[in-house]
Amino acid sequence: MVKLFSLSVFYKGSPEARLLKSTYDLQSFSFFQRTAVQEFMTFASKTLVERTQPAMRQSVKQDVYMCHVYVRTDNLAGVLIADHEYPQRVAHTLITKVLEEFAAKIPTDQWQTGAENSIDFSILPSFLAKYQDPKEADALTKMQNDLDETKIILKNTIEAVLERGEKLDDMVAKSENLSMQSKAFYKTAKKTNSCCNFG
């Protein structure tokens, strides 16, 4: 499926990344899953930004999803979570473009202190909607051929991005940003990992 699920902008502080703005398209998930899915996407995005060096691009595969991350040298970062079939080149071009727009519109002093509700960047959802069809966006991406695809680092799981000694299960269990409900979803998904179990 060629689909985008979430797009978010962060500021990579140390040690924590600060979420500045995010948007989601979760219609394809069932109703009661959406909250948990959204929390997880935010959690994964934040984790990835914290483990990506400035001036680095990564595309991390997790199940059928692909998380594309780019951290600029000025520590402004963007994460796009898409289906793994979404073209990687278009994904990274979208992030570059969004970060450029963001940097032009939001003054730098807000990056370190701002929060989602205080930052006025309401065009983010329209980016996500427009890029759902990569062909539509392709005219734009062709102009930006300066993006060197070979410089994108590919990782097969989120685990592969974590630092030595870190475990995803522990991080999920410890996270304060995930609700009980989301943690239960995570456990069940890990256990069954299929749709044909009704227990």
Binding site: M1, V2, K3, S28, S30, F31, F32, Q33, E85, P87, D133, P134, K135, D138, M180, Q181, A184, F185, K187, T188, A189, C195, F198, G199
Partner: protein, 394 residues
Amino acid sequence: MDSDSDNEHTVLCEKIINDMHTVFLKDTELSSFEIIPTVLNRNKSPVIHVEHNLGLESWCAKHVYDHAHRMLMGYKKQTVQRYVQQSEQLLKYLNVALLINPDVTAFWHIRRQLVQKNRLKMNRELKFSTLVLSKKPKSNEAFAYRRWLYSFQSNDAIDWHHEIGICERCADRSSSNYHAWSHRQWVLHNAPMLIRAEIMRSEKFMRKHISDYSSYHYRQILITFAYQMSFYETDQLHQLHDLKQLINYYLIAEVQCPAQILNIMLPGVDQAAIGEARLKSFLYCCNLAAHDMRLCDDQKNMYGERESFELHRRASLKFIVEQCVRLLSGDLMGIYSPPATPVQQQQFNTHLRKFDYNSYEFLRALKKSESLLGSKHRKWCSLFLGFDFESGAA
């Protein structure tokens, strides 16, 4: 002690089932059901109802299902005449049991019996099966039940667009959904007036679900069906952009009008004998197939190699070659439409193998051009289109 806790257990299950039944009675617009993963019983009602969505917490699903199953089996021991009398009670358990586990044919069968005895309303039943599909988009039982319900209605009274919408949602939620696409074929065959809309919808779906070959296969069925029904759109016949491009690609010849295309693709054919509608449909459907061949190439450039692009390109090519051969040897075969039975198909395949492609300029050029696409493709062409590359001009 044991019987006490057993009793308590039964009361709890009954309460949950009653809670769910209340929701069913109260909300006739329920749009989805799912089981919500929860680790523990938090001493709250496990039945959650938000904005026409119904959820049941996972910790109790097993127990509730066991209980409903046991109760239903109890009813089934009585005679049909007796248990349909208690339809209200039955329905309560049936709803819960089928939502949790839609694969039990026996339970669907009880519903059918209740419908036949006029104990259940058609509309509610259609809604219920949609609800089951929201939980399990691949439920063949639910699709079959819908077809069964529609067998009591006249074709004109059925909202076919709504039915296509259900198929599309289920196919979107779960890839390679054989049951949803089969159901959609059934809808298409019952409602040929949908052809035009389906041509647009199926392309949109293929563009989004690039590896889901089920949708490509449906598209092939759709184009063949359109041809069978002699379908065409008059305003499209002036353009035939994709077909012109395809001819241009094979022959390096500039073509302008439909008459020219017909002369190139079907030289020496008695057009009056074939009939205007058939020829127009031929042009229209070949144009669609040419469009799809191009779509597959474009998609390959965008997303890289996919088996679905390759296979669909071949299927579209096969469509064009087959229809040309069929019309070119019309006097021999006596049939212009695609074969209906396996025997006819076999006869036609034998005929394809003997067909002399080299006597026709367009097919000869097509054959030559396709032979350049690698040895695997050449092998496929010789097996399925009967191209003999050894003795040919290639």
